[in-house]
């Protein structure tokens, strides 16, 4: 009796647990890309199964989006979206609203699209643009085909009213651009004039910032904006917080579904852009699952649940070389992508010790950049031997604006410990008390190098900076606080050495990046979010920075940028640790193929098929047969 009870209980306890675990699970999607046939079969099956459901509902929030009609993303949307309002500064709706140098144009559209590969603007809602002689007026002709999702035409009045609203309601964009753009006036239905703000001498304050607006700020419909104003009683705060769930936009996709786990867009088959592109974008749906962290996003990418990954993947080449997955990048070999930004270590030049350029340069000379690139970036960056230092990113457009020959004497490529020691010795900065750390005025040179916790490649980079310090007798300790503490330290200059990204590629760069490295204006900010975090002041550099936006002669610009780069490399107010893609762009071609590739002749930048001219990629995609 007792034995029987014993057996029965054992069976129930262990058996029940195992069975529940197994029975509750269902076979998930194949986890490796080697099973392409099964994936294709599954796709077909899924498509067949869901077709009927799709037909039945379409407008209902039910069912699924067929895998072979849906393009999946990761690395763009983190957390639940807040709104669909381009006037808000915290929409947290990255796939729909990202008004930056290469604006994301799948839902809302800009006048032009920026292409970082050639540095040119391509028409979208706008057709062409031209400056008058004094660069006081920028005239833009609109694309006559452009229509809103309600099929009314996009007019110059819409463009003008959008700017007026930004200015009137003091949005972040309005507060900034109203310092450079005086007004936007509709000349007729299809011609709009951006009038630059003029200084006391009648010269435009900054024509570069006027042009920067064009590929960056979405055009909104005047009639819809007036509706939003009306329902919010013209209250600025309420208007900026309006969710705009009923938004009217001009882009190829509209909202389909969203919750705290995903955001789904559906193609607008009446999209006006058929006239511009010759066809509709290939994916019917665009979905971004909201992953908790990079690891979860990577797992989904490897298993084929994500097509386009905007996440840094260590040793990305191993995914196709060793794991045999159908994954590729814009370039088949290192650095695998187009590096357009340069994560940089900024020195707080007000700190005793770091106020000496010999100390700053010695640290920069001693850092082993090849190790940073090989380990922290897993070779996804060209080295400083391949692309010598300047204030330019490695793109050909920017490199053409600097004379590298003139900078040869100022270059440093890293791991030059002896050179760094000699520089310090020559400056009389030596270790007098024999504790291994050099002193200035009897005080040891000890510094903290910081960046946010969990940014693993950056953390690893600063560890290498710290190691370089110890080799040349300068104590550098790494410090990785949470992001908010770091922001506070960086923006209020409570750091010794901090790491941050200067601006990447845009129509206003490299000027914007040069400002971020050396602008005296930024140095004086009480809370500095913009650049030159270490407070470096150099009037010569500042004068050049003021001249550049007004200069149109390319040779003169090259002269200015070369001189700025010379000052930068000589004075080392900050130093870049690596080159880095503006957006990571790896694609899993188990369902979709036809993504942009270097030298494919299409000139489409690897901006995840969504940003700036990169959206052209959506029209080239095809299903894997």
């Amino acid at each position: 009796m007792r034995k029987r009870l014993n057996k029965w209980t054992a069976l129930v306890t262990v058996g029940a647990m195992t069975m529940t675990l197994l029975s509750g699970c269902q076979k998930a999607a194949p986890t490796d890309g080697t099973g392409q046939t099964s994936k294709a079969e599954e796709t077909t099956q899924t498509a067949a199964q869901t077709t009927t459901a799709e037909e039945k509902k379409d407008s209902a929030d039910a069912g699924s989006t067929p895998r072979n009609e849906t393009l999946y993303f990761n690395g763009q949307q983190w957390g639940t979206i807040n709104d669909w309002n381009p006037l808000s500064s915290n929409s947290n709706n990255a796939m729909a609203i990202t008004q930056q140098d290469n604006a994301r144009v799948i839902v809302y559209e800009t006048l032009f699209m920026y292409n970082m590969l050639d540095g040119k603007l391509y028409g979208l809602l706008g057709k062409d643009y031209s400056w008058n002689d004094g660069q006081t007026e920028l005239t833009i002709t609109l694309n006559p085909d452009a229509k809103w999702s309600d099929q009314t035409p996009v007019t110059a009045q819409d463009v003008a009213y959008t700017f007026d609203c930004h200015k009137k309601y003091a949005t972040a964009q309005g507060s900034d651009y109203s310092n450079y753009i005086d007004s936007v006036v509709a000349k007729d239905d299809h011609t709009v004039i951006f009038k630059a703000k003029l200084d006391d001498k009648g010269l435009p304050v900054n024509p570069l910032k006027v042009v920067e607006y064009v590929p960056k700020i979405y055009v909104m419909q005047k009639a819809y904006l007036q509706k939003v104003e009306q329902r919010n009683g013209n209250d600025a705060d309420k208007i900026k917080q309006d969710r705009m769930d009923d938004f009217v936009a001009s882009g190829p996709y509209k909202s389909y579904y969203n919750d705290d786990q995903k955001v789904v867009f559906v193609r607008d088959d009446n999209y006006w852009g058929k006239a511009l592109w010759g066809k509709l974008p290939a994916p019917k749906y665009i979905t971004h699952v909201i992953y908790e962290n990079n690891a979860a996003g990577d797992t989904a990418f490897k298993s084929g649940e994500v097509d386009v990954s905007q996440q840094f993947i260590t040793n990305v080449q191993k995914l196709w070389e060793e794991d045999g997955l159908p994954i590729s990048t814009y370039i088949d070999e290192a650095p695998y992508g187009v590096c357009a930004t340069m994560p940089t270590a900024f020195f707080n030049v007000e700190k005793p010790g770091l106020d000496r350029k010999e100390v700053r340069k010695a640290i920069a000379m001693a850092v082993d950049y090849d190790q940073i690139i090989a380990s922290a970036m897993s070779n996804q960056s060209p080295s400083f031997k391949d692309v010598p230092r300047s204030i330019m990113n490695p793109t050909s457009g920017e490199q053409a604006l600097v004379n590298q020959d003139a900078l040869k004497d100022y270059q440093f490529t890293g791991n030059d410990v002896e050179g760094a020691k000699a520089l310090l010795d020559k400056a009389g900065i030596v270790d007098k008390d024999g504790d291994g750390i050099r002193e200035i005025d009897g005080k040891n040179l000890n510094f903290k190098a910081e960046c946010p916790d969990g940014w693993t490649d950056w953390n690893a980079s600063l560890e290498i900076v710290a190691a370089a310090g110890s080799k040349i007798g300068i104590g550098i300790e790494t410090y990785f606080p949470d992001a908010n503490t770091f922001y506070d330290d960086m923006t209020t200059r409570k750091f010794d050495i901090c790491m941050w990204n200067p601006p990447a590629a845009s129509v206003a760069n490299p000027w914007g990046r040069a400002m971020a490295f050396m602008s005296t204006d930024y140095a004086g900010l009480k809370v500095n979010w913009t650049g030159n975090y270490g407070g470096y002041i150099n009037e010569d550099a500042n004068n050049l920075l003021k001249k550049i936006p007004l200069e149109t002669n390319k040779d003169t610009l090259k002269e200015y940028y070369t001189e700025l780069s010379r000052i930068y490399l000589d004075e080392v107010p900050s130093f870049s640790l690596m080159y880095r893609p503006m957006l990571f762009h790896a694609v899993n071609e188990s369902v979709w193929t036809g993504f942009p590739q270097l030298d494919d002749g299409d000139n489409i930048p690897p901006t995840d098929c969504t940003d700036g001219y990169g959206i052209a990629a959506l029209y080239n995609l095809v299903n894997v047969k």
């Binding site: 509750g24 849906t70 807040n82 500064s89 606080p481 914007g512």
Partner: protein
């Protein structure tokens, strides 16, 4: 009369604790270093170049969030609004309200954690009691296995389950609360998908809960099994099943306390499963709030935890009076 005095005392003490906890919930997050306006301002001013405009945006947010006001004023506003169930607007997800954020995530946590804790607790207690009473394979085989598992850190267990059952065997999805290609609907496909996504997070909690509960129950049961009343019952020829019933009931008291504590702290406990499996819920919401210095969201989340712990404890203390009259009697002395 005895019960009334016992309950009144308890409730008064719990109310005092609640008041102190609310004050601490409000003050402690605000003592953390770091500026709550930083993160949102960082996003807002990205790409801006005019220093005056940047400063204006920053100050606008500081004013909107009320972080420039004296802490006492902020506290009074917080209490006034909280009493109406309004926890204000989140800093990090501005302009979403705290209530909206919590409402969208709390049910995922409750539906994941509550059944997992209860099942872990039940299985653990059954296993502990059976191990103590039957010994053999339970005591020497099953219990040590679960003890081993309970000593695996939560993130380790979750990672192992993810690796084995999702990545290697392909038996379960790796992340999310439902299929990556689905849109929520009242369909069998969706329900099955939710169930499939539920498995790994669920078992990652259950498996590490069982051992701890079992070992406690086993010790208590062995103690009870050696008690005079058990021996006496056996001499009387009372059936095993009946005796196990007595032993169980007496050994249960500390276990009920453990259960109440687990339920009270389930929001924090859900964090690991939520992070590893990208499962929606309040744990990650709280973590993001702490990282983002989102005072209103932190205060609301910690207030929920506080109230749940207090209610769970109060419930246990009240029920103790019923389960074991000796406790009520002792309290009344």
């Amino acid at each position: 009369m005895g019960y009334k005095k016992y309950y009144t005392n308890k409730i008064i003490w719990y109310l005092i604790t609640l008041v102190i906890a609310v004050v601490l919930n409000f003050i402690l997050p605000r003592l953390m270093p770091g500026d709550p306006v930083s993160a949102i301002a960082a996003r807002a001013v990205d790409g801006m170049t005019d220093s005056t405009a940047i400063q204006a945006v920053y100050e606008d947010y500081a004013e909107k969030f009320g972080v420039n006001l004296p802490m006492s004023t902020q506290f009074l506003i917080f209490i006034k609004n909280a009493l109406r169930g309004d926890f204000g607007v989140s800093f990090s997800q501005y302009p979403r309200t705290v209530g909206n954020i919590i409402a969208s995530s709390v049910w995922w946590t409750v539906c994941l954690q509550l059944p997992a804790i209860l099942l872990g607790w039940i299985l653990g207690n059954v296993l502990g009691a059976v191990s103590a009473y039957k010994k053999g394979i339970f005591d020497k085989g099953v219990l040590p296995v679960f003890l081993f598992m309970s000593n695996v850190p939560a993130f380790g267990m979750a990672t192992v389950l993810l690796y084995v059952f999702s990545l290697k065997l392909g038996l379960a999805p790796s992340s999310g609360g439902y299929g990556f290609d689905l849109i929520p609907s009242a369909s069998i496909t969706f329900f099955r998908s939710v169930l499939a996504h539920y498995q790994l997070p669920f078992w990652s909690v259950v498996l590490i809960t069982v051992g701890g509960q079992a070992i406690g129950m086993r010790s208590m049961s062995i103690y009870e099994l050696n008690a005079d009343y058990v021996k006496y019952s056996r001499f009387m020829g009372i059936k095993d099943r009946k005796i196990v019933g007595y032993v169980f009931r007496n050994a249960m008291l500390p276990q009920i306390t453990g259960l109440a504590m687990s339920i009270g702290t389930m929001i924090g406990g859900a964090l690991v499963a939520e992070i590893i499996f990208s499962y929606p819920g309040l744990g990650t919401t709280l973590l993001a709030a702490v990282k983002g210095r989102d005072y209103p969201l932190i205060s609301a989340c910690t207030l929920i935890i506080t109230i749940m712990v207090l209610l769970a404890n109060l419930f246990v203390e009240l029920i103790y009076g019923v389960i074991d009259p000796r406790i009520k009697a002792a309290q009344q002395d």
